[in-house]
Symmetry: C2
Subunit: 207 residues, 2 copies
């Protein structure tokens, strides 16, 4: 398949959310204009985004809401359960462990890891906290799909190397550090300060 | 100024981080190729991103690291202090309150707000938690620049309306809900499930 930009994938996630809302409201079809308006983009962009994945919709009739929903869920890999581990049982780890939106989408958090003996063995928002020393053994046994790194920057590369070596191919990184991984591993970063910079940019560059 | 895409602003934040690293390492200049390589983009994209904001760098010599750093900080509005309030003193609020990266960038968290009487009056990671009933009065007095919404989805639109009416022009929303705001208000969303969907997409569409 052609390389799809991150920004396209992000828009697919947004379209999915609108379609779920349309389905709840009992709408049978939706136009690319309506999806574009809601997503803050253009109808040409919507059609282009969807065209990567096949032929959807009929000219003048729009997209069938249930068909497009099914297709988007399949494209985004949401038809199955993904097993997730959280590395770091601090504040961010706890916020993630309790986040209800994950399970709804099929992301099951199977364990959290920490080095702190006071945290190990205690549940973190219902998730078992295990010793970091077990990380490799556990990954070999449990075969998680995704590792979320909720640890300080100075440890992040070392921990990334460990989960990658243990076979994990997808990582969500909350540490404010640029990490390096082999080409067959996808690393996505959530950087809270960068999100705020988007706002300071907007405030600074207002007309 | 021309309308700048969110993805461009995000890349500027990334370039800023590389430049800070180069400065620490004592490098005087950097090429668009090096910035592109580090940022996972093309040198043409780097040059285009920077060209929105003026003329930087000399052909064959690259960019001056200190000059480009100063320019990027100014473009991103990082030369000043931004006053931030957090609405919601739960797990995500706590994770944000303790996040060290904010203050380094000039984002000062001045207060958190909650409706829970057990939380009001107690510090949250060093940040004062105030009663939601004070929100409008406090905003009028303290003039925060940015509100971070770390609250459940069902309240998010109502709270957004309150902060907007009180005069706030920039909002970072952690609730998994699509919010509507007037055109002169910038709302950025951090959606944890969407971040994971980027990974399930990558895992599903691997060669």
């Amino acid at each position: 398949m052609k390389r799809i930009a991150d920004s396209t994938v992000r828009r697919l996630s947004i379209y999915l959310r609108f379609l779920e809302e349309f389905e709840e409201r009992g709408l049978a079809t939706v136009s690319s204009e309506e999806l574009a308006r809601r997503g803050g983009t253009t109808s040409a962009q919507v059609r282009k985004d969807l065209s990567f994945f096949g032929s959807f919709g009929k000219r003048g009739l729009g997209y069938s809401v249930p068909e497009l929903l099914t297709a988007l869920r399949e494209i985004l890999g949401l038809g199955r359960e993904w097993r997730v581990i959280i590395v770091g049982a601090g504040k961010i780890g706890a916020a993630l462990a309790q986040y209800r939106g994950f399970r709804q989408r099929g992301f099951q958090i199977i364990a959290a890891y920490d080095t702190n003996p006071e945290k190990v063995g205690r549940p973190l928002e219902g998730v078992q906290v295990r010793d970091m020393a077990q990380l490799e053994t556990d990954i070999a046994r449990d075969r998680p799909d995704i590792a979320v790194l909720a640890i300080p920057s100075d440890n992040a590369q070392a921990v990334l190397d460990r989960v990658v070596k243990a076979g994990i191919k997808a990582v969500l990184n909350f540490a404010p550090a640029q990490l390096h991984a082999p080409a067959d591993v996808t690393v996505k970063a959530v950087n809270m300060a960068m999100e705020l910079e988007g706002l300071s940019f907007a405030l600074t560059n207002r007309e």
